[in-house]
């Protein structure tokens, strides 16, 4: 009797436990999915009702098709490139066989960059700009945090330059790069340098400000410890200042990378750096019936990459942060 009574009790317990698990799962998985589904529904409904001069605004199907087309184009282009290099190699081998003194020339494939190559260019450009900005902003931020006088001197400049749009910088940067970066055999394209420099100019501010705040709010006792130990200024920065302000610095870096990625697209459009910005611009100028769908693919790609970059920075932040109890998101 008692045994029989015990059995349903256990299953009941299990059932309630499952229910808790289920609601947890619903919250973490289902709610975002519901949000996404509602968004896609609204998008498709609205798209049907918007007629532009380039045809109807693309819905999900059109965008998906163009995404597939872009992938196909990439592979077609790649096989073309492979064929090109194979031909070239063969030709060179033949000429060397005829004339042993012949120095074979390798010519690069000159086909248009594919969507994936453009993504890569964009990532590369934003990283160069971001790293340039960080290498400048972190030391300057530390200086501002350590010395009130230098902060007082630099702060007005920060406030002045922080709100400037990349589009305002771009003409100036373009002209300066053209004037200063003169070389017969340029290692980098001017459009690349212009884009990276514009990214750097716009994304150094959050890192600078956060680093300065982080450094200036170091526990006074830790500074006294440093004094008692007679750490010299460099040791002080390395052993005390940098570790204590790592969380603040990384908050700044994350914000900076986010801004940098946003700025990059605009910079590439105007500087004609062959990345995602140029892709969007070219499709816009092209004005075919697929253009809007292709732009939409780029827009979503930009969003996804921005999200991934932020998550990567978050992981990096968690990895370097000594305060493992702090919630980072």
């Amino acid at each position: 009797m008692s045994k029989q009574a015990a059995i349903p009790m256990i299953t009941e317990k299990e059932a309630s436990f499952d229910l808790v698990k289920l609601t947890g799962w619903l919250k973490t998985i289902m709610l975002p999915v519901i949000g996404l589904v509602v968004f896609i529904g609204l998008w498709n409904v609205l798209a049907k009702n918007i007629d532009t001069s380039l045809g109807q605004f693309p819905g999900t199907t059109a965008v998906w098709q163009q995404a597939k087309v872009l992938v196909d184009e990439h592979y077609t282009q790649q096989s073309k490139a492979e064929a090109f290099y194979e031909r070239q190699h063969k030709r060179n081998a033949e000429r060397v066989a005829k004339d042993p003194n012949y120095q074979p020339k390798i010519r690069a494939f000159t086909g248009a960059p594919t969507f994936f190559q453009q993504i890569w260019t964009s990532l590369y450009t934003v990283m160069v700009g971001f790293v340039m900005a960080s290498l400048f902003a972190v030391p300057l931020g530390i200086l501002c945090g350590l010395s009130k006088s230098s902060y007082a001197a630099i702060n007005p400049l920060i406030q002045l330059f922080k709100p400037i749009s990349p589009l305002a910088w771009l003409p100036l940067v373009t002209m300066v790069v053209s004037a200063v970066y003169v070389s017969d055999d340029p290692m980098f394209a001017k459009s690349f340098i212009t884009s990276a420099a514009t990214v750097a100019l716009c994304c150094l501010w959050p890192t600078l400000i956060n680093t300065a705040v982080g450094v200036s709010s170091i526990d006074k006792d830790l500074i006294n410890v440093s004094k008692v130990l007679r750490l010299n200024p460099i040791q002080h920065v390395i052993k005390i200042v940098m570790p204590s302000s790592i969380p603040a610095i990384f908050t700044g870096l994350r914000l900076s990378l986010g801004i940098g990625w946003m700025v990059l697209i605009a910079a590439e459009m105007l500087a004609q750096n062959p990345g995602l910005g140029k892709f969007v611009w070219d499709e816009f100028q092209n004005g075919s019936s697929e253009s809007l769908a292709r732009i939409m693919v780029a827009v979503l790609t930009i969003g996804i990459i921005g999200f991934i970059l932020d998550r990567l920075m978050l992981q990096l932040q968690k990895w370097v942060s000594w305060d493992k109890s702090a919630t980072l998101r």
Partner: protein, 284 residues
């Protein structure tokens, strides 16, 4: 070279600049301390105890007068006057071992790797913290953090160990344990110790002399009480010792009769005529 007094404070006064003019925190502080003495500084909050300690540490500079340690004027902080801060102030990103190691590497140049390791371990052993050497400060209790803080200070081989209310943030039981540890270490190493405290029992139990400070502004040393109790001292036995209770009584009398602090009246007067009064400055 031996000195009659290891540490001398002579006519020390310190002014802090405020928008309303200089604020005199301390005046006429004269104190001579012998090697190996355990000195407590006691007084109401805001009386400038910490200021005295910071002056000896070299973190503040006296406006007039000066501090002399073994014949040399103190004018900057240094490891021979190691400080144990009130809230441990360990570097939160370093383990207990690494915290002590940083101090050793920085102040004990000329030691080999092996010697550094041994010395760090020895000092952690001294405060009974060997078992938690690899723990981060966030992973150990307040009392343990303070132990590591003391180990770090001792590892610098200070001539004078300065402790700024080292047990102020700890609960009574933990505090008693740490007081016993400090007495044990003091009897082993014979360092000169200067400790700030609010706690009358702590002062009487640990000290050779208790320096009682008058209330600020313009605080100075009111009385100095010598504690002639046999060492090692045992808190349980002393509880019934008439001599011990006499000392306690003396300190309490100084704090609550002679230097009674009447904050409510003070603040009342300030709010009534909020002009001409020197700006209050937190120095305690």
């Amino acid at each position: 070279m031996t000195f009659k007094h290891q540490l001398e404070l002579t006519q020390v006064a310190i002014d802090f600049p405020t928008p309303k003019g200089p604020f005199t925190a301390l005046t006429d502080v004269n104190l001579k301390i012998q090697k190996g003495e355990f000195i407590s500084l006691i007084g109401h909050s805001g009386c400038g105890k910490s200021t005295v300690l910071n002056l000896i540490a070299g973190l503040y500079q006296a406006t007039t007068g000066g501090v002399i340690l073994e014949g040399q004027e103190v004018n900057e902080p240094g490891p021979e006057r190691a400080v144990v801060f009130q809230n441990h102030s360990l570097l939160p990103w370093l383990s207990a071992y690494k915290n002590v190691e940083l101090a050793v590497k920085q102040t004990q140049t000329g030691r080999s790797k092996k010697e550094i390791k041994d010395w760090v371990e020895h000092n952690l052993e001294l405060v009974h913290m060997s078992h938690a050497a690899d723990k981060l400060p966030s992973e150990i209790s307040g009392g343990m953090k303070q132990r590591v803080g003391i180990a770090r200070a001792l590892a610098m081989e200070p001539k004078v160990l300065l402790m700024d209310e080292p047990f102020g943030a700890l609960d009574a039981l933990t505090r008693a344990h740490l007081q016993d540890s400090v007495m044990e270490i003091h009897s082993q190493l014979g360092n000169t110790v200067i400790m700030i405290t609010h706690d009358v029992d702590e002062a009487v139990l640990l000290s050779d002399r208790i320096v009682m400070m008058t209330n600020g502004p313009s605080a100075t040393i009111g009385e100095i009480l010598s504690i002639d109790l046999e060492r090692p001292r045992n808190r349980i036995e002393l509880a019934d010792n008439p001599q011990y209770n006499h000392y306690r009584h003396e300190v309490l009398k100084f704090l609550y009769e002679k230097q009674r602090k009447v904050e409510s009246v003070d603040s009342h007067r300030k709010s009534k005529s909020a002009k001409g009064q020197p700006g209050s400055l937190k120095t305690g």
